[in-house]
Each structure stands twice: as structure tokens, then as C-alpha cells.
Subunit: 260 residues, 3 copies
């Protein structure tokens, strides 16, 4: 057991059993951390918004971190966000207010989630990812380094409009998604793409600006004995179809929900 609690925990925080909290970490009012979770050193959980500095009657919105989560050192999570079980972050992530993550999601080092975004389950964000507010994501969406989701079509404006990404889609490194677009399910966005139009289900788009390259199942790897995409047939690490295969899983009660 690693920590020797020299941190500051609000009296109104609810800390589950077997939770470990690192040095110099601050847990603000109205934070719930469920059992078996770990919060690293120098973290701030439930950071109040700027209103709190001015308003003596300020009440901090509820922040919930699910069980078995790991928030790595230096991360700052604002109040009013909800995280499912098994949530994992890299070091020094910033997550602003009113974001919702389902279970088994991860957010990489130096990623900046700007608040009011929604992720389903089993989403994985790599490092240096930025998600503008009002974007929505399904489940099993993986986002690679330096990807930016924007929300202002003609900046600056007050007409902010997020994009949406459906289940199982993959956004490769360095891509930028312009505002208000829809990326379907099981899509692949190639590295360093500028996405400026909608991407239908099962399509591979790439380029600056991106164009339709074809169906995702045209992409093979040397190691696979079939097309690499839809990728769940070829990758199962820490995923719910591990050991039984994607097809079998889609017949289970859980799998049916996501695979529709």
C-alpha cells in the first residue's frame, strides 16, 4: 500500500472501501469515490468552477468516480462529472465540468476534455487528445494521439455544435474533426485527416481534407487472416468478448445492446 495520506479531503466527500489517495491530492466537496479506486499524487478531484471564488453560497456539483478506477498523478477533474467503474487516466489529464463517461473508459496523458461531453462504455482516448464541449460518443470508440474534436463552425461564434461518433469507430492520430458532423459505427479515420463531412457506417476516410477511401474491410494486416476491420474480430485485449469472440459476444445480453 503506497500512500501516506498528507492530502486534503472534504468532509462531504464519500470515499469507498479500500480507496487509496496520494500525497498533496485535494478531494473537494460532494465527491464520491467508489471502492477499490486509486487517486494518485497531486490530483484535484471535484475542482469547483470559477463561480466558487466569488460566491460564498456556492454549492459544488456532485462528482462520481466509479469503483476500481485509477486516476494517475497530476490529474484535475472538475465537479459535476460522472465516471463509470474501471475509469483510468494517464498523468496530468484535465476534465472540465458535466462530462459523462461510461464504464471501462480511459483518457490519456495531457488530454483535455472540455466539459459537457458524453462517452459510452469502453472508450479509449490516447494522449494529447482534445474534445470540445457538446461532443457525443458511443461505446468502444478509440481516439489516438493529438486528435481534436472542434465545436465552432465559424470561429468565434455562439453557435457551438459538437460532433457525434457511433460505436466501434477508430480515429487515428493527428486528425481534426470539424463541428457538427456524424461519424457512423465501425468507421476508420486515417491519421492526420481533416474530417469535414459525415462518415457513413463501416467506411474508411482519410486525407486533408478527407475523402472516402472505401469500406473498412478492404484493410488487411500481415498478421490477420482476414480483413482487420471490423476490428473486434481481431482485437480483444481487456474487452468483453475476450475469450469468446466478437460474434458469440454479440449474441449475449450485453453484446446485443452495443452491436445493434
Amino acid at each position: 500500500m503506497r500512500f501516506n495520506r498528507s492530502n486534503t479531503i472534504s468532509k462531504s466527500a464519500i470515499i469507498g472501501e479500500n480507496v487509496q489517495i496520494g500525497r498533496n491530492t485535494i478531494i473537494h466537496d460532494n465527491v464520491v469515490i467508489r471502492h477499490n479506486s486509486i487517486i494518485g499524487d497531486n490530483c484535484i478531484i471535484g475542482e469547483p468552477n470559477a463561480q466558487s471564488y466569488k460566491d460564498d453560497g456556492y454549492k459544488n456539483a456532485r462528482t462520481e468516480i466509479g469503483s476500481n478506477s485509477l486516476i494517475r498523478s497530476g490529474s484535475i477533474i472538475y465537479s459535476g462529472s460522472l465516471f463509470g467503474d474501471y475509469f483510468i487516466t494517464g498523468n496530468m489529464v484535465s476534465i472540465r465540468e458535466k462530462s459523462v463517461f461510461g464504464k471501462n473508459c480511459s483518457v490519456g496523458t495531457f488530454s483535455d476534455i472540455q466539459g459537457e461531453v458524453e462517452f459510452g462504455d469502453y472508450c479509449r482516448l490516447n494522449s494529447h487528445v482534445q474534445i470540445a464541449s457538446k461532443c457525443m460518443f458511443g461505446s468502444f470508440v478509440f481516439i489516438y494521439p493529438m486528435v481534436v474534436f472542434t465545436n465552432d463552425p465559424l470561429p468565434p461564434s455562439d453557435n457551438l455544435i459538437g460532433s457525434t461518433v457511433d460505436n466501434f469507430s477508430q480515429i487515428a492520430a493527428g486528425s481534426i474533426i470539424l463541428p457538427g458532423l456524424t461519424i457512423g459505427k465501425h468507421c476508420l479515420i486515417g491519421a492526420k485527416s481533416l474530417i469535414n463531412k459525415n462518415v457513413p457506417d463501416f467506411e474508411f476516410h482519410a486525407g486533408n481534407p478527407a475523402v472516402r477511401i472505401g469500406k473498412v474491410n478492404h484493410l488487411w494486416s500481415k498478421e490477420d487472416k482476414r480483413p482487420h476491420y471490423p476490428w473486434p474480430y481481431n482485437f480483444e485485449k481487456n474487452l468483453p468478448w475476450s475469450g469468446i469472440g466478437f460474434d458469440e459476444w454479440t449474441k449475449t445480453e450485453e453484446g446485443r445492446i452495443y452491436a445493434l
Copy 2:
């Protein structure tokens, strides 16, 4: 009132009235923080340069943070920089030595200002922005995520030369500006552009490498009833022409200065 001062403040720092300073924050020698400002947790203000570790006679250059500023948690600001009133940062920004920001500027989370840069008033930098040293910016310049301003034409070299950007120009997400260029006033740089030549006033350039697309006033939004650019006619949030309109403001004493 939020903080319970367990921080370390230099005796030579000058702290204005009603300033709040977070936990574990360090305020170094010769820092001035003007009234009503807030410095979050785990910040370092007036960080001495590397010389300070070796030289017992080291004197820390003066750092000034204007009134009503908000430096969010985890930010590191080196000594010798000057910030006008109402300066705002995201979390974990890094600002190196001898930078100057006018009033009402903001710098987003994970942005890296490399020192010896100059910004006018009302500039807004989003997250993950990097500004190389020796770049100069007018006022009302907005810079979106993952934009890089470089300063070395043939790296590595000792011939560093920054770029300049004039008033009201907008640099969209993911763009890179090569060294030594001039971007005029009221310009728009499209997302993910590589700017390798000067951009005249009121022009829209985009692409990799960027080309001239046309005058900015060819861009309309669905919501606007006229061209979106010059944008001050369509956006006024927290800006000095709020309520009176851009044209009226340019006739005021303040407006005349910027709008020339």
C-alpha cells in the same frame, strides 16, 4: 472563500487586496499579484530561470499579474513576464520568461508559451497551443487548439525569427505557422493549415500548404444574416463592443485605437 493557505509566498512578493492563493502554490521573489486575482492550487508563479540554481547572487526578474486574473491550478509562470488585468489561464499552462500579455487575455490548458512573445489585448488561446519565442500578436487574435507558431526556418539554426499577427485574426485548430511570416488583420486561417507565406488583411487561407481561398467576407453561417467575417459584427461575448455593436465601438476612443 476557498483556500486555506498552506502555500509558500516569498517575502518580496507583493500581493494585492482580496487575492486568493491555492494550496501548495509557490510565489517566488519579486512577483506582483494585483487585487482580486485568484491563483489556483499547485501553481508556481515567478519561477526563476535555471541560472538561479547555480548563482547565489541571482535576482529574480519582476513578474506582474494584473487585477481580477484567474490562474488555474497546476500552471507554471516564469519570472520576467507581465500580464494585464483580467488574465485567465486554463489548468497546467506553461509560460516562459519575458512574455508580455495585454489586458483580458486568456491561455488554454496545456498551452506552452516559450517566452519573449508579445500579445496585445483580448487575445484568446485555446488548449494545446504552442507559441515559439519572438512571435508578436496584435489584439483580439484568437488561436484555436493544437496551433503551433514556429521560429526556426531551417532547424536547427541560430537565426530564430518569429511571425506577427495583426488585430482580429483567427487561427483555426491544428494549423502550423512557419517562421518569419506576417498575417494581416481580420484574417482567417483554416483548420489544419500549413502557412508558408504571408497572409494579407481580410483574407482566408487554408490547406497544407495553405493557399488563398478568398476574402473572409465570402463565408456565411446559417445563423448570421450577413457574412460571418469580419467576425466582430457577429460575436461580442465578453468583448468591449458588447451591447453597442462593433461599428459604434470603433467610433469610441478605445475602439479607434484597435480598429485602425
Copy 3:
């Protein structure tokens, strides 16, 4: 001398003579910091991996930081990495497990080294750089802002394969290197390139996707009186051929090793 040690240093850490360690900094088990090195404020050195939270018998892998190093404030370095003498970081870098850096290397602010990477000597990484695991670099390789080295050809997969870069090559800002490629020696990768094939020695590639532009020695600057590349003939700041010239240095015992 700057610090007033209110930090936490493991009893098993070995701290050399004249080492300075900042406030709130944590030095974990089995860390070696050699003489004359400086560790800033709020750093974590030798961060144990996630196993340490669960396993009471966990032993932290050895971490070594060479002499005369400067780890700037807010940086997090995991256990099991080795750094040569004169290692320098910016603020808030993240370096994961089992990475190896030779002597005189630097890693810029907000850079994310994902572990199991290898750098030779005199490598310089600017800010916001991301290096995926399993990448290998020679010596005198300079990497500019927002560059990403990836390692998964068809994400997500288990077939991770890093790229390699040979001595003296330069990777300009905003480029992405796809997995499993070889970049030769004395190459130049232009800004904002997507590298998707090997780059032979002494070549200049640029674009999205990148194409061969020509030999590097076609590039001149106004200031140089000969081609700018190979750059060691025109740049010597803090480099071992400073004062004697690159040609003379390549005849020395040290120079012969790198210049082969």
C-alpha cells in the same frame, strides 16, 4: 540555493552530492540521482507502475538520472528508466517505464514518452512531442513540437512496431510518423508531414502524405554560405563540435563513433 526541502524522499533512493530537490517532490524507492542534478517542484521521480497499488511485495525497478541533469517542475518520470548525464526536461513532462536516454538529451514541456523507447546522445525533443513505445533513435536527432511517433499499423491491434531514426535527422513540427518505418541519417522531415514510407539517408521528405522532395543539401538559408544541411556544418550550440567544426570533430575518437 533555492529549495527548502519539504519533499518526500525514499530511504532507498541514492542522492548524489550537491543535488537540489524542490518542494512537494516525491522520490520513490530505488531511484539514483547523480551529483549536481536539480529536480524541480512538484515532480515525481521513479513513479511505480500500477502493479504497486495491488501488490504488497512490489519492488520498484531502478531509475537512474545522470549527473548535472535538470528535471523541471511538475515532471513525472516512471521507474525503470535510465537517463545519461546532462539530461534536461521542460515543465510537466511524462516519461513512462523502461525508457533509455543517452547523455545530453532534452525533452520539452508537455511531451509524453510512452515507455520502452531508446534515444542515443544529444537528442532534443521540443514541446508536445509524443513517442509511442518501441521506437528507437540514434544520436543528435532533434524533434520539433507536436510530432507523433505511432506504433500500431492498424489500430487497435497487438502488433505494435516502433519506427527507427538514425543519427542527425531532424523531424519538423506537427509531423506524424506511421509505425514500423526507418528514417535514415541526416534526413529532414518537413513540417506537418505524414510519413508513410522509409526515408533514405540525406533525403528531405515533406507533405501529407509525404513525398521525396530531394537531397537535403538543396536547402540553403540566407545566412549560411553553403547548404544548411547536413546541419552540423552550420549549427554547433552546446554540441561537441562547438569551436572545432564538424569535420574536425568527426576525426576525433568521439566523433568517429557517431559520424560513421
